[in-house]
């Protein structure tokens, strides 16, 4: 109980919110990393998944990449990148590692969504004389949207987690509050940082949950 009240004191003291290592700045870094890397990974993964799904090729790659992503430790990739020449360029090792771990869920979900579109619907669209592009944008993407969005949601939560681990390898973000707490042997600060990280992750999950609930009926199928 003592630790909890000490953690609460740490969280509510104004001195811990301002400055370069303050909560406000760390929160901003975490949000910036998450949003930037989510955009980058969507730009990389979604076009590939949509094209592969439309053509019906590369299924083994799109599905297995998720399993591979799970087997490779995030921390190992972060440190490996840090020791390569990329490591000398500020935030880049963190950004690259974050994107690497956000791409698999995006790719797999979008691909599975595209292939899950009813084949009869696709044939009917073709029979109506739709071109490949029309078929993709007017039939397949709208019908695959629920799973594509599920992929974005999984990737976003994954990004928050990976950005936290990046603090172990010297990156920014809320994880730095935890690692600094460990270095100072200050359990209250460690717990306070962990509470902030957990709340941030749950908030991101909650935002996507709400967005999926508010979406029109046809876009909700994949939400569970």
């Amino acid at each position: 109980m003592n630790t909890l009240s000490a953690a609460w004191d740490w969280l509510t003291s104004a001195a811990n919110w301002s400055g370069e290592g303050g909560i406000g700045n760390r929160l901003g870094e975490h949000l910036f990393l998450t949003v930037l890397c989510l955009l980058l990974s969507c730009l990389i993964a979604l076009p590939v998944a949509l094209v592969l799904g439309h053509l019906g090729r590369g299924g083994a790659l799109a599905v297995n990449i998720s399993n591979a992503g799970r087997a490779v430790p995030t921390f190992a990739v972060l440190v490996l990148l840090l020791l390569t020449p990329v490591g000398r360029h500020g935030q880049w090792p963190t950004i690259i590692a974050l994107v690497l771990f956000a791409v698999p869920p995006l790719l797999t979900n979008a691909y599975v969504g595209m292939r899950g579109v009813d084949r009869d619907t696709v044939r009917a669209a073709r029979g109506m004389g739709m071109t490949g592009g029309q078929l993709l944008w007017r039939v397949e993407v709208p019908l695959a949207l629920p799973l594509i969005l599920t992929g974005v949601r999984v990737a976003a939560v994954q990004l928050v987690a990976t950005a936290t681990i990046a603090a172990l390898a010297g990156g920014g973000g809320l994880g730095r509050i935890i690692t600094a707490g460990f270095n100072l042997a200050s359990t209250p600060q460690v717990v306070a940082g962990a509470v902030l990280v957990a709340l941030f992750a749950l908030l991101v999950e909650g935002v996507f949950e709400t967005a999926q609930r508010l979406a029109p009926q046809w876009a909700r199928r994949g939400a569970s």
């Binding site: 909890l4 799970r70 490779v72 995030t74 936290t164 935890i178 940082g193 990280v197 999950e205």
Partner: protein, 226 residues
């Protein structure tokens, strides 16, 4: 005075046979700790997950809260999870195990529950018609039929646990993660690469092993495929 040795260790190369031969003991200890932490966590998770999933299946009211709590637990990033457990367990191996148990539990409960729910109602009625009581129905019919889904969950949980153990390095119980962490601080490339590769090897080996166990435990699926 002797000149410093000019081997791959001194040149700090990524690939270094010298490292593997001179640090064999350290690597072996780290691998053993990695396996112990993973094994204990996943087994504890399994022991806790089966009754939870069965309870969630039996009482409809329990399913919502159980799934809700597991979703929340799974959303919390690993570093934060370990940190939240710090006041309870201190800097000990149990902190890492407790965190990993919570993650394994989440994956296993969801998969076992999905497997139990997929047992066809006719099968259940047929078993009841043959005079099976609720316990025998569960042990002899429902759990075996839920086995493929449960094993899929177990494989995901194990592979994730192997990867997450590395984060335990923050409290000094991270198996190969300890070597990655110290290698990062000393800029020791050969150590970081060797430990990382070993992590992936352990994950893949565990996955293949569990796939084999699944094949042995579910012979009826093999026949259906052939």
């Amino acid at each position: 005075m002797t000149a410093p040795p000019d081997d791959c260790l001194a040149r700090n190369e990524w690939l270094c046979g010298e490292y593997l031969s001179t640090r064999r003991e350290i690597l072996l200890d780290a691998v053993l700790q990695h396996l112990q932490l993973t094994g204990v966590s996943v087994l504890l998770g399994l022991v806790l997950a089966v009754p939870l999933a069965v309870a969630a299946r039996r009482w409809r009211g329990a399913a919502g809260p159980v799934l809700g709590v597991t979703t929340v637990l799974y959303t919390i990033p690993s570093l934060a999870m370990f940190s939240l457990l710090l006041p309870v367990y201190g800097l000990s191996a149990w902190l890492v195990i407790a965190g990993l148990v919570l993650y394994s539990l989440t994956l296993l409960v969801r998969n076992i529950l999905a497997g139990l729910r997929a047992v066809p109602e006719e099968t259940r009625q047929a078993a009841r018609g043959m005079g099976y009581g609720p316990v025998r129905l569960l042990l002899a019919v429902e759990l075996p039929l839920a086995l493929p889904a449960a094993m899929a969950g177990l494989r995901i949980a194990t592979v994730s646990a192997v990867s997450l153990v590395t984060i335990g390095a923050i409290v000094g119980y991270g198996g190969l993660g300890n070597l990655i962490y110290s290698g990062m601080n000393t800029y020791f490339k050969a150590q970081v690469l060797a430990a990382s590769v070993l992590c992936v090897v352990i994950a893949v080996a565990a996955d293949v092993l569990l796939l084999g166990v699944q094949r042995v435990l579910t012979p009826w699926l093999r026949e259906a495929r052939a």
